[in-house]
Structure formats: structure tokens, C-alpha cells
């Protein structure tokens, strides 16, 4: 297969950056998208050019590191898949493919397709945990959890923190990410003591980072590789409003 690529190249955070055209040939349909970029990079290195910088690590869809905006879609055209799980058979021979970094004020570009997503870490540091020191825990089965709640919590906990929700959202909002963590802990008895402060602190940190506001468009849910649901955002709204209005 042969492809025309338009790849965002940007030397560093200060550089203006631009789309650069590449043509790549002899691509196997069973290659993953990242392997295709590997092949291109190999060619670039051999030609003495600077290879394309991109984030990637586990290459099995769980670490959340890979993050490309491919032909106008976060992680490309395939549903419920990360960039590393996207295979070239999803494209037609001869296609022109745009490859851009996540675009958000809160995710500044470091180089080429690599962005700084440390804002997510700071949001978690603001409250995405249960404050329990090691060694204080009671027996695990002393806290039964209704199976349905445990399942919902797991659905939310499946978030890999890749930032596709922010990238896909026309508003650059991070609410799907934040609400997934708030929901997971709100559904467990362990999460109750800090439920109010958690919602307030995490939302405040999210706002401070410069993410946009949710207008319930649903692009995040549609593009999330782990299929995190919008119901989590509703739960976060509920918790946040209750915490702000009712708790003393």
C-alpha cells in the first residue's frame, strides 16, 4: 500500500510548526499505524533527516501514551481503539492521511506529535485518590460493594488517561477524564469520606489548567478508546453541585 502523509512537524515548544508532506510505499495492511511511522522514521534516519517524534510505549492499547490526531479523528478512524491499535487495513491504498498532535491549550506541543499532558497528573494529585496510607486497611471483604456499582466503577476506571477526549472535544474540555476518576471513587464506599472535597478540588484544578467547558457534545465519548460514558460527567456535575451547594 502507498500513502501520502501530512505530518505536523514542530522542532520544539517555541517553534511555529507546519505540516510536512511525506510519501510512503510498500506498507503492509497488517502493520499498525505506529509501525508505519517506524518505517517512515527509519527512512528519514537513513536519509540523515530528523525522525518524527511521537509518544508511544506499550503498543497494546493500555498505557495511554500514544496520541495522534489522524485524519481529523483522535486515534484515527477506528472505534474504541488507540493509535497503536489502528491497523493500516483501515485505510485505502493511496489515501492522504493527516497526522497532527492533540490540540489544546492545556496540552502544549513539546515536539512534532508529542504533547505535555502533565495537567492530567496535577488533576489526579488534586484529589483522584482515597487518602489511605499503606498499612491502615481493614480486611478487603469487610466492605461489600454491590456488583452493579463495582461494574460501573470498573467501566469508569478503564480510562487510560490518553487525552483523546480533550483532543476530540471542540471545546478542549477534560470532563470525561476527570469525571471517570470522580465516578469510580464515588461508586465505592471507600470513596465516600472525601467525595465532596474530591469533586471540588479536581474540578477546580481542571479549570485552572485551562481546559474548556463541557457543552455535552459527546465527541469525547464517541472517540474514547475505552468507551468511557457521558453518564460519568453527569455524575461529576451532580457531585460537584451537591458538594458546592449543600455541604457546609
Amino acid at each position: 500500500m502507498k500513502f501520502n502523509l501530512k505530518v505536523w512537524r514542530q522542532k520544539n515548544a517555541k517553534d511555529q510548526g507546519k505540516l510536512v508532506d511525506y510519501t510512503i510505499d510498500n506498507i503492509n495492511a497488517d502493520m499498525s499505524f505506529l509501525e508505519m511511522v517506524d518505517v517512515l522514521n527509519d527512512e528519514l534516519v537513513r536519509k540523515g533527516e530528523d525522525p518524527i517524534a511521537f509518544d508511544h510505549d506499550c503498543r497494546e492499547g493500555i498505557c495511554g501514551m500514544c496520541s495522534m490526531y489522524i485524519s481529523g479523528r483522535a486515534h484515527g478512524p477506528q472505534h474504541a481503539a488507540t493509535t497503536c491499535q489502528l491497523y493500516m487495513r483501515s485505510f485505502k491504498d493511496g489515501d492522504t492521511i493527516y497526522v497532527e498532535p492533540w490540540r489544546a491549550k492545556a496540552f502544549p506541543v513539546i515536539k512534532d506529535l508529542v504533547t505535555d499532558r502533565s495537567a492530567f497528573d496535577r488533576i489526579i494529585a488534586a484529589g483522584g485518590f482515597v487518602s489511605v496510607n499503606t498499612g491502615q486497611a481493614q480486611d478487603a471483604n469487610a466492605l461489600p460493594v454491590e456488583k452493579a456499582d463495582a461494574e460501573k466503577a470498573m467501566d469508569a476506571a478503564a480510562c487510560i488517561g490518553c487525552g483523546a477526549c480533550v483532543a476530540a472535544c471542540p471545546n478542549g474540555a477534560a470532563m470525561l477524564f476527570v469525571s471517570a476518576k470522580i465516578s469510580q471513587l464515588a461508586l465505592f464506599p471507600q470513596g465516600q469520606p472525601e467525595r465532596n472535597t474530591r469533586a471540588i478540588n479536581m474540578v477546580n484544578q481542571m479549570d485552572e489548567e485551562g481546559f474548556g467547558n463541557c457543552t455535552n457534545i459527546g465527541a469525547c465519548e464517541a472517540e474514547c478508546p475505552k468507551e468511557i460514558k457521558l453518564t460519568n460527567i453527569a455524575r461529576m456535575n451532580r457531585d460537584y453541585l451537591a458538594a458546592s451547594l449543600i455541604s457546609e
Binding site: 497494546e60 501514551m65 491497523y87 470513596g191
Partner: protein
């Protein structure tokens, strides 16, 4: 050669850890605040250690090369975590978990460590549940368990197929909490490139800021290496692309012994290699072997026809199929341990009966399970796995058998540590997969997560105090100390060397070449002849690397190729040590199979001569490493031939 002291506490097996804890020296809270600890790596071991030590009051600096501590490769573990909770009332106990782990490790692990691991396994589950880790539950709301990796009791806790992710996110949350409280300073996109020693003790690291390329000096009263395994020495493995040995290797070159480097776990259920472009191998959870039946055709002709696409698996009649695991190991069948299942697949393929075009692949067939349980049940049971397989291979495992082949998955070897997890450099610790300690020659399924968290949450917080209690008068050493300058210069020189070669071959070229040598000669079956040959090949490759590698770009920028080059350089040196170790170990055990030492195809241990940990001391790149032995003393169990027949 010397004999190593593992500092196992005295007393009966079950009381050793209690004895240790009761006698270990403590550091008072006021002093803890003055002590700085460096944690390299933020996987299960690193994140849990950093969080716990910060909770205790130490000043912690944590480092990871990824963009966030949450991305460490522990996240990819699918199956589960073992714990001797005996919630199922099926006869499990700490002793049984201990015994299974020792036996699973082919009697090459240390009794004291493994018993402690089994003991604290129960606390891990309590801790994780308290953190809000969403383990699977039954309808009564209590925790569910499954049997995993050939265990005869159900002791594995799991969170769908994402147990590693959930446990890591729990530890990551605890870590970020301490970051938020100001007790941990987190350095993401930083890679440790040198260990700094002052007066023989580990006192800090040189880390590279991967974004700017700047080298930074960091002081610590102790340094914890929680940097995972080195499976990527094989190029193709189930490890993440960035997983590397560099931090551990730097410590090794500074004097930390490397234990049992040749013990490599090859996981039987991975998706076979399809092409040269392939960058990694994907593991399919071991749980698939609960219902899937492994087979190849009985005849080479049928296998050839399948390889060439002339026949389909459905065309092979039942009586013409060889369900070789069921045939060879009737009592465990498809559920026999990983090393055994892997080697059996290799044998079938070496016999010319592989079923993928490359010849290296066998079937994992759900046909019978579907007949027995119905499509819906099978689909529900392996919910995430089947679509994942289909996405990668474009084949539906409900319609045609899966194709699998073993791939490198885990390395039991690692930095040698004593009972306190301290390496042979005072003040330098190794936790989790980075150390060699608990799995012997082969790791059982669902034990890696257990070990990483045991080390980080429950072992190091006690053992580090025993060391740091004597460091309370050591003031923070300013990083303009000559030892830091010297270490930084060494890193600089090496980096400049890499960039100045400007040869013809890319870093990946060399990595692939190394991987091929390792897989061919130091993979599932090893011979003295092959290993001798491999050592020479690796030495040649190393020389070629340092004269012909092409690393683009400069030092002071985000330059992943340069980072990769440094890692591959270390892998090449490690590869040689693995071969040396494999050559030294004239026996077959667990993940180390020497063709010369077998009994009708089964691994043949030599307990008389090789019942020891081989801990290697670095003497220079061109010099032979020196072997130190730690004798394994078994006071509580009888050594026996590991049989799964």
C-alpha cells in the same frame, strides 16, 4: 568467587519476617524528614514504594521516562494478582502459596523471601481495596477469585482483563496524593543514566531530562531501582517499547551484582510474528488456556498445507490433530506452566508442524468450548480478548482457531538483592521485576503484580529504615561533589560518542540483530555450542555498534533516537552476560532450558551443582564477569522433580 550473604533472619520460616520487623532499626519522624530517597521507575514497585516512603515522612524524588508515572508497563498486566486470602475456602494458605511459588520457580528461589511474599500478599489486597481498586466482585458484593496459571486453588484477584492497570492506577493515585502534599517530587520524562557512589554507598543519580536533553544531578541517602525487566533485549517481546535495562545496568557496572540473568520467561500465548516491520508482540491472556485447546496437525504434510493456505484448520479431522499438551501432560493438560507450554510449542514447530507462514505458530482452539458452552458464554468469558485478537489479526477466533506462539514476557533475573532488597551496593535497592529475588527460574501467573506491590508497599518501608537509621547524621551532599561531576562527565562523554559515530546502521538495526541472536541461541532452548557462538556474535555486534551506529540529532533537544541508542548499547552488554550465565548453568530449570540437560524432553535440574543463585560482578566491558554464588538453602521443603504429568 565468593559466597553471598542473603541476610535471612533467624527462626522458623513463618516467623522470619515478624522477627525481622521486630528487630529492624527505626528512624524517628523528625529524622525521616531529613532523609532523601530517590525512586527510579513508577510501576507497581516504584509507585507503591515512593508513595509509602513519602507517607512515612521521607523526602522522595521519583523518576520515570514516560510522560506520566501512570504509564509504567505494569499497566499492561492482564490476568490478576495472587493472594493467600483463602476467601474461597478451597484450602489455600500462606504456606501453599509459598510452596507453589517455590515449586513453580523450579526450586531456584530463596525460601525466606518467597514466604514473606506469600505472607504480605494478603495485605496487598486489603490495601488496594481500600484505595478503591475495582476488583471483580460476586453478587454478594464480596471479592471474586479465579484459578490462574495452573494453580489448584482460586487465589487470583482480578479486575476484568486489566488487573495491572487498576493496581497501578491505585498506586499512582497514592503517589500523586503525596506529590500534591509536597512529599514527593515527581520527575516525568527523566531517565536515569548513572548511579553516583560516594565512599562506596549509593548517593544519587545522574538523570537526563528527556525534553531538554539536560543532565541533572540528584542526591539521595538511598536509591531505589524499580525499573522493571529487560525482556526487550530480545527486541521482540511483550514489553513496552521503552522498557529497558539501562538504570539497572548502570548500577551493575557500579558494582551491583546481576542475579540469574539467563532466567527468561517465555509466555506461551502470544500472537505470532507476521513480518519484519513488527515492533512488539502482543500477549493474549493465559486465561484463554482454561477453555482453549492447543493443537497442531499430526502430520507435517497437513501443517504444510495449512501454512500454504491449501487447507483450513477445519479441514483437519479430529483424529489427525495432535493436542500435544493434553497428550504429554494429562493431569494439567492445556493449563501446564508457562515454560512447559512454551517449550512444547517450540518442539511442535521445530518438528515442522507449525501452522503460520513463518512456521512458528500453533492453534488455540475454542471449537470444543463453543460446542460445550455456546458462543455467548465463551464470548462473555473472554469479552475483551477476542475483539483484541480480531483487531490485530483480522480473524475471528469464534469462527477459526486462534494462532499463538510463545514470546518473551518476563525476566526472572535482575539485580541481586538480599532479604532487605539491597543490592551489593550499600544504599542501592532493587524492587519488583528489576531484582532477581522471588520467582526463581520461572514465575507463576499472577505473581509479578504481587511481588511488585509487596516490595513497594510492605517490604521496603521496613528494610530501608534499618539502613537509613545509620544515615541520620549524613547531611544532604551538595551535588557539586566531585563524584557527581565525574558521573555526569561520564554520561556526557558516552552520549557525545554515540552522536559522533554517524555510521550507516540505525539503532533499530542493531537492536533487531541483537534480538535475533538472543532468540536463536538464548531463547527457549539453549546449547553450549550455540551460546558460545552467540557470545562471540554479541561481542562483534557491540564493536560494530560503537563504530557504525547512526544516531541523528543533538544532545540538547527531545531526541528519542538518542535515548534508544543508549538503551540498546546497554542491552548488548547485558545480552552477553545472559549468554555467559546460560553457559555457566549446566542444567535445565524453569525458564532456562539447556538441550544437553533433559530427561525425555523434560527439564533436568542439577540440584547438587547448581542449587545456587548466580550473581555476576562486572569487571569491564571486555573482561569476563566474576561469578559469586548464593547457595539456596531449603529447610522447609523437599526438592523434587517438577512434574505436571
Amino acid at each position: 568467587m565468593s559466597t553471598l550473604n542473603s541476610k535471612i533472619p533467624p527462626g522458623p520460616l513463618a516467623e522470619k519476617w515478624s522477627y525481622y520487623k521486630e528487630h529492624a532499626k527505626l528512624v524517628n519522624p523528625a529524622n525521616k524528614r531529613k532523609l532523601e530517597v530517590i525512586v527510579v521507575g513508577t510501576g507497581l514497585a516504584g509507585a507503591s514504594a515512593a508513595a509509602t516512603l513519602a507517607e512515612l515522612g521521607y523526602q522522595v524524588k521519583a523518576f520515570c521516562f514516560q510522560d506520566s508515572p501512570r504509564r509504567a508497563h505494569s499497566i499492561a498486566a492482564q490476568g490478576g494478582i495472587n493472594a493467600a486470602k483463602n476467601y474461597k475456602n478451597d484450602g489455600d494458605s500462606v504456606y501453599r502459596l509459598f510452596y507453589d511459588t517455590i515449586k513453580g520457580g523450579d526450586f531456584r528461589a530463596r525460601e525466606g523471601n518467597v514466604y514473606r511474599l506469600a505472607d504480605v500478599s494478603r495485605n496487598i489486597i486489603d490495601q488496594c481495596v481500600a484505595q478503591g481498586v475495582p476488583f471483580a466482585r460476586d453478587y454478594g458484593g464480596l471479592l471474586d477469585n479465579r484459578s490462574f496459571g495452573g494453580a489448584q486453588v482460586s487465589r487470583t484477584f482480578y479486575a476484568r482483563g486489566q488487573t495491572g492497570q487498576q493496581l497501578l492506577l491505585g498506586a499512582y493515585g497514592a503517589l500523586e496524593r503525596q506529590v500534591g502534599l509536597g512529599n514527593v517530587k515527581m520527575y516525568s520524562r527523566h531517565e536515569m543514566l548513572e548511579l553516583v557512589k560516594i565512599d562506596g554507598k549509593a548517593r544519587g543519580i545522574i538523570a537526563k531530562n528527556l525534553v531538554t536533553g539536560e543532565l541533572e544531578r540528584h542526591f539521595g541517602h538511598a536509591v531505589l531501582l524499580c525499573t522493571g525487566g529487560y525482556g526487550n533485549v530480545f527486541f521482540l517481546s511483550t514489553n513496552a517499547m521503552g522498557s529497558n535495562v539501562t538504570a539497572a545496568w548502570k548500577a551493575h557496572k557500579q558494582g551491583a551484582y546481576f542475579g540469574n540473568p539467563c532466567y527468561t520467561q517465555i509466555h506461551p500465548t502470544c500472537i505470532p510474528v507476521t513480518g519484519d516491520y513488527q515492533s512488539k508482540l502482543t500477549l493474549m491472556s493465559e486465561s484463554l488456556r482454561n477453555d482453549g485447546r492447543v493443537w497442531v496437525p499430526k502430520t507435517k504434510e497437513d501443517a504444510k498445507a495449512i501454512r500454504e493456505g491449501k487447507k483450513k484448520p477445519e479441514d483437519i479431522k479430529e483424529e489427525d490433530r495432535d493436542y500435544y499438551l493434553e497428550r504429554k501432560y494429562p493431569s494439567f493438560g492445556n493449563l501446564c506452566p508457562r515454560d512447559i507450554a512454551s517449550r512444547a510449542a517450540k518442539e511442535a514447530c521445530d518438528d515442522g508442524r507449525g501452522i503460520v507462514p513463518s512456521g512458528f505458530g500453533v492453534f488455540l482452539d475454542f471449537g470444543d468450548a463453543i460446542k460445550r458452552l455456546g458462543v455467548e458464554v465463551v464470548k462473555a468469558r473472554y469479552g475483551e480478548l477476542f475483539p483484541m485478537y480480531q483487531n490485530i489479526t483480522n480473524e475471528d477466533p469464534l469462527k477459526t482457531p486462534m494462532k499463538i506462539y510463545p514470546a518473551v514476557h518476563y525476566t526472572m533475573g535482575g539485580l541481586w538483592v538480599d532479604y532487605e532488597l539491597m543490592t551489593s551496593i550499600p544504599g542501592c535497592y532493587a524492587l519488583g521485576e528489576a531484582n532477581f529475588s522471588d520467582h526463581g527460574a520461572n514465575r507463576l501467573g499472577a505473581s509479578a503484580l504481587m511481588q511488585g506491590l509487596a516490595d513497594g508497599y510492605f517490604v521496603i518501608p521496613y528494610t530501608i529504615g534499618n539502613y537509613l537509621s545509620s544515615e541520620i547524621f549524613t547531611k544532604s551532599i551538595p551535588t557539586d561533589h566531585p563524584a557527581f561531576a565525574e558521573a555526569e562527565n561520564a554520561v556526557k562523554e558516552r552520549t557525545q560518542k554515540l552522536l559522533s559515530i554517524k555510521g550507516k546502521r540505525t539503532v533499530d538495526d542493531f537492536h533487531k540483530a541483537l534480538g535475533k541472536i538472543m532468540w536463536e541461541y538464548c531463547g527457549m532452548a539453549r546449547t553450549a555450542e550455540g551460546l558460545t557462538k552467540a557470545r562471540k556474535m554479541i561481542q562483534d555486534l557491540r564493536k560494530e555498534f560503537w563504530s557504525d551506529v547512526n544516531v541523528p540529532g543533538t544532545i540538547n533537544e527531545f531526541n528519542p533516537e538518542l535515548d534508544k541508542a543508549g538503551r540498546v548499547a546497554d542491552f548488548i552488554e547485558l545480552g552477553e552476560l545472559m549468554v555467559v550465565d546460560a553457559l555457566n548453568r549446566n542444567e535445565s530449570c524453569g525458564g532456562h532450558f539447556r538441550v544437553e540437560y533433559q530427561d525425555q524432553g523434560e527439564a533436568k535440574r542439577d540440584d547438587e551443582n547448581y542449587r545456587y543463585v548466580a550473581a555476576w560482578e562486572f569487571k569491564g566491558v571486555d573482561a569476563d564477569p566474576v561469578l559469586h554464588k548464593e547457595d539456596l538453602v531449603y529447610e522447609n521443603i523437599q526438592l523434587q522433580v517438577r512434574s505436571y504429568k
